[in-house]
């Protein structure tokens, strides 16, 4: 797909989202103009909104979106990015609280701890799939709930602040906070880390043998197996845990860069939005960059819409779901179209 086509696709999506939003607002009896004004000014209308609201929300979506894309590419339906993010946040908070006096080293350890926790959490579902054939869609959703209650227990138990009043941890030591980007409000260097991971994942999928194996297994496990030299079980297991590690890292980055403490509602559902992000990006980590920005802006704007125009912020999940349906509907239509006419251009498009 050429750059021009990508641009055309992206603008189509943005227009579609805005049109869908306008219809939903109209159907709900809300005034469209003030709502869309709030959406604009709360997301990209000002430098402050762009950096402190939109881009700050884009960071976890970049990472979780990338996590979902990696897993889906390998044929692993990991819908547990939310739980992996939560345990990543918990592990990073625990590490940063315990090692706060170590300064920057503690920061690095906390990031690694978050990624490891996410990988292990995904590893449970990976084991259940490999050993017992348990459908990972169900096991990862169940593990999301378990992670939610785990955090709920931690912030009222072992990790609760010393006064034992609020259900949250103590504030992390300053030295463990991710540095802010100068002149960009609350935006922190987690953005650089997230972008680096996106670029690296996209490159690895395209240009390394491991990336090729992962995609081969995702597209046709039986073909990958019979072609030889690919251990399907091991490849899917690794992809699953890698996906969990990236989602866990998202949680660690959120704790160290935004909240500076662990509490229950640390994620407004980034791990679920990530599914829409990844599908819209057609499971390509590089395109995840654009899709995450779109959803980061939508989430930021939705907060402003609720504040200024009292439009329920849950409207964003409706938009996300409709977008997923639109994408898979278009893919299904295109696949049928491509097989019926089989022009080389369409076939290539359907493969991409």
């Amino acid at each position: 797909m050429s750059a021009l086509r990508s641009l055309r696709f992206a603008s189509l999506v943005v227009l579609g989202v805005l049109a869908g939003l306008a219809v939903l607002l109209w159907a709900g009896g809300y005034a469209i103009e003030p709502a869309l004004t709030a959406l604009w000014s709360g997301s990209v209308g000002t430098w402050y909104a762009l950096t402190s609201a939109t881009l700050v929300r884009t960071i976890p979506l970049l990472l979780t979106g990338c996590a979902v894309a990696i897993a889906f590419r390998a044929g692993v339906f990991n819908v547990g990015a939310e739980g992996q993010l939560l345990v990543g946040a918990a592990a990073a908070a625990a590490a940063a609280l315990a090692l706060g006096s170590w300064g920057p080293a503690a920061q690095g350890i906390a990031l690694v701890a978050g990624a490891l926790a996410g990988a292990l959490w995904a590893g449970i579902a990976a084991q259940l799939r490999a050993r017992y054939g348990v459908l990972e869609v169900i096991s990862t959703i169940m593990l999301n709930f378990v992670a939610l209650y785990l955090v709920s227990w931690l912030v009222r138990g072992p990790l609760q602040e010393p006064m034992h009043i609020y259900p949250q941890s103590s504030t992390l030591a300053d030295a463990t906070h991710l540095a802010r980007i100068p002149g960009a409000g609350r935006l922190h260097v987690g953005l650089v880390l997230a972008l680096a991971i996106i670029v690296l994942s996209g490159w690895a999928l395209r240009h390394t043998a491991a990336g090729f194996r992962l995609q081969a297994v995702g597209e046709s496990p039986s073909a990958a197996r019979s072609a030889g030299l690919i251990d399907v079980q091991r490849t899917t297991g690794r992809a699953f845990m890698l996906s969990g590690a990236v989602a866990g890292l998202a949680g660690a980055v959120e704790v160290l860069g935004v909240t500076y403490a662990l509490y229950e509602n640390i994620s407004p559902g980034y791990g679920y939005t990530a599914i829409a992000v990844a599908l819209l990006a057609r499971l390509d980590p590089w395109r995840v960059g654009v899709a995450a920005l779109l959803f980061g802006a939508l989430e930021a704007g939705a907060g402003a819409m609720q504040r200024d125009a009292s439009v329920p912020s849950t409207l964003v999940s409706v938009i996300e779901a409709l977008l997923i349906l639109a994408v898979i509907g278009a893919q299904a239509w295109r696949a049928r179209h491509a097989s019926a006419i089989a022009s080389p251009d369409d076939a290539a498009e359907a493969e991409a």
């Binding site: 849950t314 409207l315 997923i324 299904a332 239509w333």
Partner: protein, 302 residues
């Protein structure tokens, strides 16, 4: 002891009812070879439909609204999966997101966001004369809201329909050998669409049970994973009506343990009880998936 056992049994039945209803619906869907991960969306849509229906037409209106809500969500599933040939897992995931988001939005738009909990007419327990006075188990099993008795009746009804009727045979044939069934002149699309709509109606009814027979109100996200638990129950029940009913009871019992422990004065972090059904689901899937045989075409692209 009976002051612990009777409430425990009653709580078991109460928690198991919506799970069993949703699982019975999914059972038929899966026997037809599809897997509807969007069941969670159907349940929450049913819960919202119940709220809306009950505020208009009382208890009956509530249950009608519940089934309509569930069927609406599953109709979208049927269109995407059966007509468009879209991926079942991704469609189901999107519909769960859609159900949760749309009901939350509608609730806030219609009834105000921070608003006081809205109470709807509830379906009162109906004691069955004679049976309800059996010691210990009587009130637990036979002084329940009528929808629970519907769940009881569905066990033999589904068994009979699946194993003794032509339509049931056609459904099973499609789940096992879709190509052979199609060659024998069975309309795959029609049978699968009906099963998905039936599954949606029962999923919606499960959501309606939460609102009308239990909570008496709607809470955003009140389905809290029951759709996924119901799918696990179908696996644990080995795709058979009686097995599914027993598996639902097991889950009901796990959730009801917290009431029993509270009554006995045993204390533990409350999260441990809340998390029990989800852990049990994982354990159940691990122990049941390998041994039971799923319908041969389950979840495969059409």
């Amino acid at each position: 002891m009976s002051d612990v056992v009777a409430p425990f049994l009653a709580a078991t039945i109460r928690t198991a009812t919506p799970l069993a209803l949703a699982a019975f619906g999914e059972l038929l869907v899966e026997r037809a070879g599809l897997i509807n991960i969007g069941l969670e969306g159907a349940i929450i849509a049913g819960a919202f439909g119940a709220l809306w229906g009950a505020s208009v037409g009382g208890v009956a209106g509530g249950f009608a609204g519940a089934m309509a809500g569930g069927m609406l969500v599953s109709a979208v599933f049927a269109i995407f999966v059966i007509a468009f040939n879209a991926d079942q897992i991704i469609t189901g995931t999107a519909l769960t997101l859609l159900g949760l988001g749309a009901t939350g939005t509608l609730y806030r738009a219609l009834y105000g966001s921070g608003g006081a909990a809205l109470n709807v007419p509830t379906s009162a327990p109906l004691a069955i004369p004679g049976l309800a006075s059996v010691p210990v188990i009587g009130t637990a099993l036979f002084a329940q809201p009528p929808v629970t008795y519907l769940a009881y009746l569905l066990v033999p009804a589904l068994w009979w329909w699946l194993s003794r009727t032509h339509a049931g045979l056609a459904l099973r044939a499609i789940g096992e050998r879709p190509d052979a069934a199609a060659a024998a002149g069975i309309s795959l699309a029609r049978v699968r669409t009906s099963s998905v709509l039936f599954g949606g109606a029962l999923g919606g009814l499960a959501g309606g049970t939460l609102v009308i027979a239990q909570a008496g109100t709607f809470v955003e996200g009140m389905s809290s994973g029951r759709g996924f638990i119901a799918i696990a129950i179908v696996v644990l029940g080995r795709w058979r009506p009686l097995g599914v009913a027993l598996a639902a009871l097991l889950f009901g019992a796990a959730s009801a343990l917290q009431f029993a422990f509270q009554a006995m004065g045993w204390s533990a972090p409350y999260q441990l009880f809340l998390v029990a059904p989800y852990l049990l689901t994982l354990a159940a899937l691990a122990s049941a998936t390998g041994r039971a045989r799923a319908p041969a075409s389950l979840g495969k692209p059409l």
